[in-house]
Subunit: 126 residues, 4 copies
C-alpha cells in the first residue's frame, strides 16, 4: 500500500475545495508544465526524451503514474538542419493523479477535429 | 455581459466533470504553463516581462483575468554577468477563470514556511 | 561614448580566442537562448512578446542592440483553442554584439529554401 | 572517418566568417539552447535528464560530442514540495564542435568567483 502523501500546502487552499478538485488541479498543473518545459526541444532520440518527460512528470506532487508518447516527426529541411523540434502536436500524455481517495486520469493529445493538442480529463473516481 | 465562451473541447471530457472542476483545470494548466515557459528568462525590464506573461496567460482559454508580479531580485555576481534570471520564487500570479457559471481564483506565490512557490486555489464560486 | 564593458569572465577563455570570436560567441548564445526560452509561448499580443524578447536579449552581456519581429500566425483550430503558439519559424532576430573593437551582426530567420529558421552571421567588422 | 557534414546554410553567412568562427557560433547556439530549454525542469532522475540534454545537444548541427553533468541539489522545502528544479548553476556542459577542419571545445559551468554559470571557449584548434 502506498502511504498517503502529506500535504503541508493544504492550508493555503480554499477550504471548500474537494479532493477530486485538488487531484484535477495537480494533474492540470503538470500537463501545462510538461508542455511548456519541453516544447522546442531538438530531438535525436525519442526514447530518451520520453523518459525525461516522464521522470519530470513524476517529480510533481500527487502524480501516481505518467505515460508519455512522442510521435516521431517526418524529417523536413536539408541535412544537417533536418532534425525535428518537439511541438505540442507531437506529445501524448496520460497522467494519473491521486489526492486522498480521489483519483483522476487526465491527458493531452492532438484532436484532429480541433486541430489542437487538447488537454482533457478522462476519468474521475472516488 | 461577457458572452459565454464556446467549448468544442467539452465532448472529450468525462461527462462527470463539473463546471467548477473545469474552471480549476483550465486555470491550473495556465499556472503550470506560465511557470515553465518563463522561468529562466534573463531580466532587464520587469515591466515588459510582467506584461508578456500576462498576455500569454490571457491567451489561454477560459482565463478572465490575470495579475502578474515579478519580484525584483538583488543583483549578484559581477557585471556584466549580474543580471537576474527569472525563478519560480520571483513570480506571483493571480488568475480568474470562468467556465459557464463557475468562477475560480487561483494563484502562485512563494510560501516562506514551505520554501516553495506554491500553486493554490484561493476561491471557488458558482 | 559607451564605456567598454568589463569582462571578469575572460580569464576562463582560451587565450587564443580573438575579439571577433568572442563577439560571435556571445551573440550566438543569445540567439539560442531566445529561441528556446520563448518558443511555445501562447500569443495574444505580438507587441508585448516582441518587447519582452528584446529586453531579454539586451540583458545578455555584450549585446548592443536587438531587433525582434514576431510574424503573426494565421488562426487555426476552433475558438477558444485558436490562439497561436510561438514557433521558431515565426521569429526574426537581428542582434548587434560588441566585444572591445569587434562588432558583429547576427540573426535568425526562416529560410524558405531550407525550410528552417536559420541562425547566421550577417556581418563582422573590427 | 566521419564524413564532412554538408552545409546548405553557408551561403547565408558573411563570406568573411572563418571555419573557427563558425564552429564557435554553432557551439554557442547550442549552449544557449540547452540552458534555456531545460532550466526549470522538475527533477526526479538526474541520469535521465542528463541523457535527454545530451541527445538534444547532439541533434544540433556540427556538434561532435557532448558531456552533460547535472549536479544534484539538496532537497529543501517539505515533502511533497521538496523536489529540485534545474537551474543554470546545476548544469555542467562540455561540447565539441567541428566545422570543416576547425574544432572547438566549449562549455558552461558555475564559476564561484563570478557567482554565475559562465559559458566559455576552452580550446580552439585547426
Amino acid at each position: 500500500m502506498v502511504e498517503e502523501e502529506k500535504d503541508p500546502g493544504s492550508e493555503y487552499f480554499d477550504s471548500d475545495v474537494t479532493d477530486r478538485e485538488r487531484a484535477i488541479f495537480e494533474g492540470a498543473i503538470t500537463l501545462g508544465a510538461l508542455y511548456h518545459q519541453f516544447v522546442g526541444t531538438p530531438i535525436r532520440s525519442v526514447e530518451s526524451l520520453e523518459k525525461a518527460i516522464k521522470e519530470s512528470a513524476l517529480a510533481h506532487p500527487f502524480i501516481e503514474d505518467a505515460d508519455i508518447q512522442v510521435i516521431e516527426a517526418e524529417k523536413k529541411g536539408k541535412a544537417p538542419f533536418d532534425y525535428p523540434i518537439l511541438t505540442g502536436e507531437m506529445i501524448e500524455i496520460t497522467l494519473t493523479t491521486r489526492y486522498k481517495d480521489a483519483q483522476v486520469e487526465l491527458g493531452m493529445r492532438r484532436i484532429p477535429e480541433l486541430d489542437f493538442p487538447l488537454m482533457y480529463i478522462e476519468n474521475v473516481s472516488e
